[in-house]
Amino acid sequence: MKQIVTLLCLAFFVSVPMWLTDPYLLNALITTGIFIIGAMSLNLLLGFTGQLSLGHIAFFGIGAYVSALTSLGFDVPIHGDFHIVHVPWPPIVGFFLAIVISGFCGYLVGRLSFSVRGAYFVIVTISFAEVVRLVALNWVELTQGPLALTNIPSITIGLPGLGYLVLKTKFHNYYLVLAVAAISYFLISRLVHSHYGRAMRGLMENETLAVAVGINVTKTLTLAAVISAGIAGAAGSLYAHYIRIIDPDVFAFISTVTMVIMVVSGGKGSLAGPVVGGVIFGLLPVFLRPIMPPEAQWITYGVVLIVILFVMPRGIVPSLAAKLGLARAGGTRRASIAVSERTVEEHA
């Protein structure tokens, strides 16, 4: 049942560019899709291990910069006449390097902070994002600082026997983003349904007990952080090659907040949650723009968020799944709530 719904949704997303011709809406869908990938990666940490990363945009931004710099090349003076020179590589190499380097940063942050955890992790992630932003802003020789990296080439895919395909149009980029999103979704789904995912859930629910049955806390959480950061890095890379210009503003705190909103409203700990929350809060500003002035847009945005969380405190997907009696969504529903809902249904 769940698989059929997932496949139907995928088929719908595949069909979109075939009937949607408005380039503005397609653009909105692509940027929203990129942020949904980021939100999915955040959900892996927040929803499946219970760790809140408030600096998640750092991994996204690192991915964007790594990918951009790999494909643009750079010439950075280190000391005296000593320069590090990098000649441009194909953007697709940048994409994979972005995943690896963001993942490595996730490893470092995880190693540093998970030995203490909780609020400490939140603070480390915020500080990390801020430090990375300052580096991007001030290391002008490498990043051009506020002048931004411009003319970032589009991703090119080599097709054996058919030459090269430059993913330059919105049509191409839509499918690229969709493909990366689908792969990320699949990867996270496999991970959380494996014994690694069970270890994460165990740690989130009752850490002492999880440790007592032999689950290695630091290892499990670090693994989640690495994969999460790697996927965020992939999203960042897509962003850089699609928008084709990046500046230190990609590290803006508000972007992390947007991702947290997508995850929490959609339902943290449910696979489809960030997708649903992402579609709503990614496209809401687009639909509000023609019908109301900018001030009213943000107020409406806030009101929608509050209403969703008020009506469905666990997020849209888990609440709907519980109402429709679908199979347990991701296994994170709160016992007390689930029980009380069941009682209500029995009384009704």
Partner: protein
Amino acid sequence: MAETVLSIEHVAVHFGGLVAISDMNFHVNKGEIVSLIGPNGAGKTTAFNVMTGFLTPTKGAVKYCGADLKGKKPHEIADLGLIRTFQRTSVFPNDTVYDNVLIGLHRQGKLRLAEAILGLPRARASEKAQRARAAELVRWIGLEARANDLAGSLSYGEQRLVGVALALAAQPKMLLMDEPVSGMNASETHTFVQLIRKIRDSGVTILLVEHDMPMVMSVSDRIVVLNYGRIIAEGPPDDIRRNPAVIEAYLGQSAKDVVKEVAVHA
């Protein structure tokens, strides 16, 4: 002499100036059921925390199957087959009983990350085996009717059983149980005692911390009595029952006289 599984050698635990355990020295042999008893605050749970690596002893050593556990983390100790249950938080409340046991099977399901994500044949086989084992354990513990209920919605006694199933899923060679029957009624306790014997008969050595004296007396091969952080008596249940130091610890000095008088008159 029987093979020693766990030996506590001159362990002391100090929290700043407070002495929780002053000098603890005892051992558990393979296949035994040993109970650690003592009045509230005697240091029983502290002793458990030391044995399972949640606390580092100030002095002394804990040896398990001859190996010193010094510096080992709790999950590493669990990996050696020394598994504990908890007094209060014994389950993963938001998961079903079946999933609780699956999480407990963590030690058996170790796969490489790539295998797990790509769903390679070995991963599928391992997953299948784990699911079968989980179902078997749920049945063994007698909770198959509640297998798909959230553990947090179960009665207290049932949650205790889930805790035991979880611990058994981790394949213990030795099981440490922290007050397993507290809060259970008489008939639940009776069933539980049979369960403990069944676990022992399957080859698991058991160390209990428990307050329920009739239960301790009926199930234990040997009892170790702790008071004010030191061991005041050790022996089979019948000896402990008559030990004046134990009676004093539990009931106070005057009670000892009463018991003596009763003994004289009897």
